[in-house]
Structure formats: C-alpha cells, structure tokens
Symmetry: C2
Subunit: 203 residues, 2 copies
C-alpha cells in the first residue's frame, strides 16, 4: 500500500481506506487503531481519512459491516452448492473451508473479533450482537445445521480466530503450539500457516 499511486476516484480511494482500516483495526482493535495509522497505511493524509467517513466510529462501523458481509457472502456461496445429499461432516468441512478462505484477508476476521469485544458499547454492542446472530441464523436455517452442529462450528471458528489474533503461528516450532494449531485448524492448517508467513508484522 505504498504512496506511489497518484489521484484516485473517490470510490477507489474509499475502498483503499477501508482495506487499510480493516488491517489496522484488525491488529489494534477499535480504541487502539488510530486514524493516523490508517492514513499512513493507505498513503494519504489523516485528515482525508476522517473526512471521507465522517468519523472514526463511522469508519469502524463500515469496516465491521463489510467484514460481516464478506463472511456471509462466502458462506452463502458454499451453501448454494449444497445438493441435499451431503453428510453433515461434508457440509461442516465445506463451510470450514469458506472460513479458511477469509484468513487470507486476515483483517476481516480480526476486526470482527474486536467488534465482538465491544458488547458494552452503545453503538458497537448492538451491531456485534446483530451481526453474530445474523451469521448464526444463516448457518442454522440456510445451511441446515442443528443447534449442536452450528455451535460446534462457531466454537471452532472462534478458537481459530483467537489463535490467529494472538499470533500463535509464531510459535509453530513449539510442538505443543503446533499440536494445538493443527488440531484446531484441521486439514487447512498447512495452507493457513503458509499464508501466515507473509504476515505484515507492521506492529
């Protein structure tokens, strides 16, 4: 995301800022992510970040809504392929792979995790609950998961996301950590660890 690009259309710039904000909020959370860090990541001025979205709060809301949108879109794409002939296990791993795809755009899942930590907030709290329930409803009703299967699926997803948030892959040489990572992430473990190698490490 260097500063090498010249002028962009409002629409393109908007996308670029959203991408930068997703990365920054994903790493630092809402309170910890500054509009200045986002601006630097996008190669523009801090003033423009704020002006384009009105406020940091609005920007985070858009980041969160995009993230949920991507998650739901990815799930729906998989669900639409269901024939009704699959075993439950097949459905579960298909959705699991969809989830795995999202790891590539790491900020998406991490931003959502940070959103979920803001339940106390009068703005983000309701947003978090609505978002989570929306995805749960999707998996229950459209993917046809039982309450137990859906809960297991989300539980595993949350553990995987937290392992990424804490950068557990940094410890993959530790046998205990590797066991945990590969047990939790299952067959996608290798792919995810590989993806993770090019971690920005823009701490």
């Amino acid at each position: 995301m260097g500063a090498t690009e010249g002028r962009l259309s409002s629409e393109d710039r908007r996308e670029q800022i959203l991408a930068a904000a997703t990365a920054v909020f994903g790493e630092r959370g809402y309170a910890g992510g500054t509009t200045d860090a986002i601006a630097r990541e996008a190669g523009i001025s801090q003033a423009y970040v704020v002006r384009m979205f009105g406020s940091k709060e609005q920007l985070f809301l858009e980041v969160a809504r995009r993230a949920v949108g991507r998650l739901e879109a990815e799930f729906r794409a998989v669900i639409s392929q269901f024939s009704g002939e699959e075993t439950m296990l097949e459905r579960q791993s298909a959705l699991g792979r969809a989830y795995g795809e999202l790891v590539a755009d790491r900020g998406i899942l991490l931003s959502l995790l940070h959103l979920f930590g803001l339940g106390h907030d009068p703005v983000f709290g309701p947003e978090a609950r609505d978002s989570f329930l929306g995805v749960y409803r999707l998996v229950r009703e459209e993917a046809g998961f039982s309450p137990e299967d859906a809960t297991d699926f989300f539980a595993r997803g949350m553990l995987n996301t937290i392992l990424l948030a804490m950068r557990m892959p940094d410890r993959k040489e530790d046998p205990m950590a590797f066991e945990l990572l590969s047990t939790s992430m299952g067959p996608q473990c290798e792919a995810i660890l590989a993806l993770y190698e090019d971690a920005p490490a823009r701490a």
Copy 2:
C-alpha cells in the same frame, strides 16, 4: 466499590485496584480502558493508580497474570479431584464447571480475551501466547485430555467467552439467541444467565 472506605493498607489497596482494573480492562480492553476509569471504579485518584503500578502497561500485565493464575488454579483444583475412573465426558464437564465458576468474576475471562487480541504487541503478544499455551499444557498433560478433546474444550470456552463479551445474554428473549446461548453453555446456562442479570452495565 464506592468511595466510602477510608485509608487502606498498601496491600489491600493494591488488591482493590487490581479488581477495578480487571473490570475496566475486561469491558473496554487495554487501549480503551483508562487509568482514570479504573481510579473512579476504585474510588481513589488517577495518580495513585499509576504510582502504585508504575505504568498502565505494568498494571495490565498484572491483571492478565492474575487472571491466568485464577484460571489455572480453578482447573488444578478440579483436576486434583480426578480419580482416574471418570469417563472423558465427566472430566470435560467438571472442567467446564470450573470455567463457569470464573464467569462470576466476569472481568477475568474478558480481560484474558482482550489480552489474546494483542498478539501483535511486543510485550503483550508473547505474554498472550505463553499464557494460552500454559493452560493448554495443563489440560493436555495434567488433566489427561487428548489433543482433540482439549481443542474442543477450548473452542467451546472461547465461544462462551465471546458470547459474554458481546453481551449476548441481553438478547436472551430472542429465541435464536437463547438457543445459541443454551447450546453453547450447556447445563450451566441458567446459572450464568442468572449471574449475568446483575451486570454492572457501567458502560
């Protein structure tokens, strides 16, 4: 935690500040939790909070270490009761109850969750990974869980913690939310929801 108490010994005051900090950091996270909010919660001056612990960073470190300590202590207490005759399911629900106990002191689990979100941080990142691996090791080696059982156990714990962090119990009248809560928390659901009623809501 009113301001009704007079002078306390350094030791008592320290405990009180740690309790206040656990609650505040649990709700707002590290970046979002101010030393001033902690001071108000403890009924003392902001200056004293900082002076007692040297820095906000040190304070959060102590909060996090205490939280992990409590979690491990609770687990060890349960594990020490194991006879070697239980089924795996019995062991799992015994540890699950131990986890449930900690919900009473809600800040503990939520502070840990926020710690886990700080994997990028040069100080808190390593702390988070060490802490998590320490508890995992405990469950694997001392409680005798297989990698799969341990992973399932942690996955469920993470989902439960996130549901608390996002205040999903506020939505318990929504059938979908209630289904999710009761499926994830299992038999302890009622007790946890009851505990949650007296949520401080000190947003």
